[in-house]
């Protein structure tokens, strides 16, 4: 008797619970990814990209990027900066002072209002604490705490040593997020004045989402912050719940989204994305990562790659189209195959630009002979395990093609940490790597990837003229003059051929058909605040 009653009761409960559950599913976005989140504070050294993505949901910044259409797809726009916690901002006519007027309705997750004190503390932390922020912000001339001044409870002023185009965009990157200063300070200790330990595992933000549960390397569950109304037209975020799950196997992620169990994924293998696009059941938005480049790179200091002739010979011998098909299934933007009328770059506004590179083995042989190596040479070609999916087929084709002009290549596949160490020590002669710039302006690329003994200067280029031009371009306010610098730099890049730009791989966002609003973001993560379900 009791059994029957219980069974009936549970049956009743189940049927009553069903509609509620179904509704929750529609209001929930389930996102799957191969990587994992390792900190709740994006400033922690070693933060993963996914951690960056999360921090832009749990925290607000003063300003954020607008968006624009590029070849019919929405991408972030470096040139439109809009207020986030700042209701508006004014730039003084001389460009030296930026005044931020904070929103008066903004509250932290604990209910306390966001004030100028919080902004000041967060910015002081960004430039002072030992974290990733300082290194980023100095690219926008923001280096010292005293550059930030509280005017009143809702106004903060930033003073710059010189007008800098990248000052505002830098404040829209993931590091200078605004912390609840009172809360964070209460968790600070004498050894840890900026509460870095506590903020690794806790949040003190005002963002659109509140972290409900966080299991590093497994799942993160976010709940909508009902008070957050900083979307377009003062709207809330659309989804009530967001679940991010780490699924290491790429083909499983593809299965999940295809069967409708997951709503969105952005890190599929190119072959799976192509397959799902062909089947046509799901929405596939494939955006070339216009702030990223994949290179075949040489260390310009290690012979024989110190000879420009050798570098150009290899550039003429690469089987570009075959590599593009085998590695990316043509999912990306080609950076080869242009025609430059007089050997000069056609534009200087942007970098990278499509290069006049074509496969021409006879020319390659001639260049190699001219460089004094008619019989070729032997070398190694390295890539890291993490990139094996695209780099392996590419390396095989490269080896085959270079053999035809007498260059014998041994392929070397290295664990990721070993590869970064060797690159940092400048010990890899010939390899493939990629770069990403959060702030993809022409001078930013040249300054961060072609100058100095840093890790990102893959080619170890040390060219005084290029350095001088890039530094001059940084503070050039006049658009025409800026483009003139760019024209020289882009031409020099082709003439010197410090490394060979191949392509810009696409970010394939595969999602359920009803998902709207996807935008390719600078940090190459999904900003879930952009999304809604029809």
């Amino acid at each position: 008797m009791t059994f029957h009653r219980t069974a009936l009761l549970s049956l009743f409960l189940a049927s009553a619970a069903l509609p509620a559950l179904a509704q929750t599913r529609a209001e929930t976005l389930r996102h799957v990814t191969g990587a994992s989140i390792n900190t709740l504070d994006p400033n922690m050294p070693g933060s993963t990209r996914e951690a960056f993505g999360l921090s832009l949901l749990s925290y607000d910044r003063l300003v954020s990027f607008g968006r624009k259409q590029l070849d019919g797809k929405w991408v972030f726009d470096l040139d439109t900066i809009r207020g986030e916690l700042a209701e508006r901002f004014d730039v003084s006519p001389d460009g030296l002072k930026i005044t931020f007027h904070l929103r008066k309705d903004a509250k932290f997750h604990d209910g306390s209002p966001v004030t100028a004190e919080d902004v000041k503390w967060s910015m002081d932390r960004a430039v002072t604490a030992r974290s990733l922020a300082a290194g980023q912000l100095l690219t926008g001339s923001i280096t010292k705490a005293d550059q930030f001044r509280i005017i009143d409870t809702h106004t903060v002023e930033l003073t710059l040593p010189q007008p800098d185009k990248l000052a505002l965009p830098n404040l829209a990157t993931v590091y200078p997020v605004i912390f609840n200063a009172k809360l964070a300070k209460s968790k600070a200790t004498a050894e840890d004045p900026w509460a870095q330990e506590w903020l690794k595992a806790n949040t003190a933000g005002s963002g659109a989402y509140i972290i409900e549960s966080f299991k590093a390397g497994e799942t993160t569950i976010l709940r909508r912050n009902e008070d957050w109304k900083r979307g377009p037209g003062n709207s809330q975020a659309h989804f009530k719940r967001i679940i991010t799950q780490t699924i290491p196997e790429a083909s499983t992620r593809a299965n999940l989204v295809e069967r409708g169990d997951a709503d969105i994924v952005i890190d599929l293998q190119a072959v799976d994305a192509a397959d799902l696009e062909k089947k046509g059941k799901l929405k596939v938005i494939s955006t070339p990562q216009y702030n990223a480049i994949t290179f075949v790179s040489f260390n310009n200091q290690i012979p024989p790659f110190d000879k420009v002739g050798v570098r150009r010979a290899i550039a003429a011998a690469l089987p570009y189209e075959d590599m593009f098909k085998a590695a990316l299934f043509e999912r990306g933007k080609r950076l080869y195959g242009a025609t430059w009328a007089d050997g000069k770059a056609p534009t200087g506004d942007t970098f990278p630009i499509v290069q006049p590179l074509k496969t021409n083995l006879a020319e390659a042989k001639r260049l190699l002979t001219e460089a004094g190596l008619p019989d070729g040479f032997s070398t190694t070609f390295s890539f890291n395990v993490g990139q094996a999916g695209t780099a392996e087929p590419m390396a095989a084709l490269l080896k085959e093609s270079l053999e035809k002009i007498g260059i014998k290549v041994e392929i070397q596949k290295l664990p990721d940490a070993q590869m970064s160490t060797l690159i940092n020590e400048k010990k890899v002669p010939f390899f493939t790597e990629g770069i990403v710039a959060w702030l993809p302006s022409m001078d930013y690329f040249y300054r961060n990837f072609y100058i100095g003994p840093i890790r990102w200067n893959y080619s170890s280029l040390n060219d005084p003229k290029l350095t001088e031009l890039a530094q001059a371009a940084r503070f050039e306010g006049d658009k025409a003059k800026y483009a003139a610098y760019g024209l020289q730099l882009n031409t020099m890049h082709y003439d010197l051929m410090p490394q060979i730009p191949l392509w810009q791989p696409s970010q394939d966002a595969v999602m359920a058909p009803g998902i709207e609003g996807y935008t390719y973001q600078f940090h190459r993560q999904i900003d879930f605040r952009d999304l809604s379900r029809k």
Partner: protein, 342 residues
């Protein structure tokens, strides 16, 4: 009396394994530092990624000190139960392992149970009729199980049972993401759900467990079945079986009580080894099924030269290996009272 002797023996064995554990700790510590790949460089990903940032991470990881001093500090931390912090997950290694070990153990134990329940009967049947069609069939199944790598069989099972038929739940870890976890008591979901009396949750967790456990079991059925067959053959051919037969004992009694009990020792040994291997080497299964276990955790850490988790993992595996060997020794005594391993 007998129990006391077994306990003494187990205790002595445990103490004699301590130097080995210590050796493992020191060896792994040094090995990680000899391997090429500098974790500080790997984790320095800022736009400058210059010498200062790398030095900062190195200091944070304690890598700026000389190696002998690092080793002493590490041993000091170990004695206080502190295994360090993982840069890959940002959590203390001890907490990570504590969260993930039950997942691995639950999977491995289930797989071993499935494997034993399949392999032992298969081995016995094959031994009873050597050379027959049944024997060949068993050999074929074993060969197939060993030949197909776990990630292939895993992906195949997912493809058929999840993707095509929709029978299995999505292969995304230990429990459906939309269900809530049971209150944590042991960390074993099946036990925790049972303790909480949540049978719906229990069956959901069991359903998640089936495919990965099958995948792992497939791979280890072969050594277990082959070993059972070989030792059953030897046992069935011995004098005491002939005597038993001539006395007219029932077939069941001869096979199960006399032959199997005598044949089970080598199977136990193999099962112990198989268990330890499965636990450490099931990284592919864990990856394919997004199982939040210790092996995939260690692999991720190893690829990024994250020292603390790898060291913690190796120490844990060594300790489990010691424990499993002890258990097998004790089981020996129970299976065959004549045996006393010193």
């Amino acid at each position: 009396m007998k129990l006391g002797a077994t306990a003494t023996r187990a205790g002595r064995r445990f103490i004699s394994s301590l130097p080995a554990l210590f050796g493992v700790v020191v060896f792994t510590f040094l090995l990680m530092r000899v391997l090429p790949g500098d974790p500080a460089v790997f984790f320095a990903s800022g736009p400058q990624a210059g010498p200062e940032e790398i030095a900062m991470i190195r200091k944070q990881m304690g890598l700026d000190k000389p190696v002998p001093q690092q080793l002493l500090l590490y041993l000091g931390d170990l004695s206080q139960g502190n295994l360090g912090r993982s840069l890959t997950t940002g959590q203390p290694v001890l907490a990570d392992l504590r969260n993930r070990l039950p997942a691995s153990l639950e999977l491995t134990l289930t797989a071993l149970l499935i494997a034993l329940l399949t392999a032992v009967p298969l081995g016995i049947i094959a031994a009873l009729r050597p050379g027959s069609a049944v024997d060949h069939l068993v050999r074929f199944i074993c060969a197939l199980g060993v030949c197909v790598p776990t990630f292939v069989s895993g992906l195949l099972l997912i493809y058929v049972f999840y993707y095509l038929l929709g029978l299995a739940p999505d292969p995304t870890g230990r429990i459906d993401i939309f269900l809530s976890q049971p209150p944590r008591v042991t960390g074993f979901l099946l036990i925790d759900f049972a303790l909480a009396g949540d049978w719906e949750g229990w069956s959901a967790a069991a359903r998640q467990l089936v495919l990965p456990a099958l995948t792992m079991a497939l791979f280890v059925v072969a050594p277990l079945a082959r070993m059972t067959r070989a030792s059953m053959l030897a046992s069935l051919g011995s004098d005491f079986i002939r005597t038993a037969k001539s006395l007219g004992l029932s077939g069941r009694k001869i096979i199960v009580t006399y032959a199997l009990r005598n044949a089970i020792l080598p199977v136990l040994t193999i099962a112990g080894i198989v268990f330890s291997t499965m636990l450490g080497a099931n990284v592919l299964v864990e990856k394919v099924f997004s199982w939040p276990g210790v092996a995939s955790y260690a692999l991720d850490a190893l690829l990024s030269s994250d020292y603390a988790p790898v060291q913690g993992f190796v120490l844990l595996m060594a300790a489990i290996f010691v424990f499993v060997n002890l258990t097998v020794d004790v089981l020996y005594g129970i299976a065959d009272p004549r045996v006393s391993v010193e």
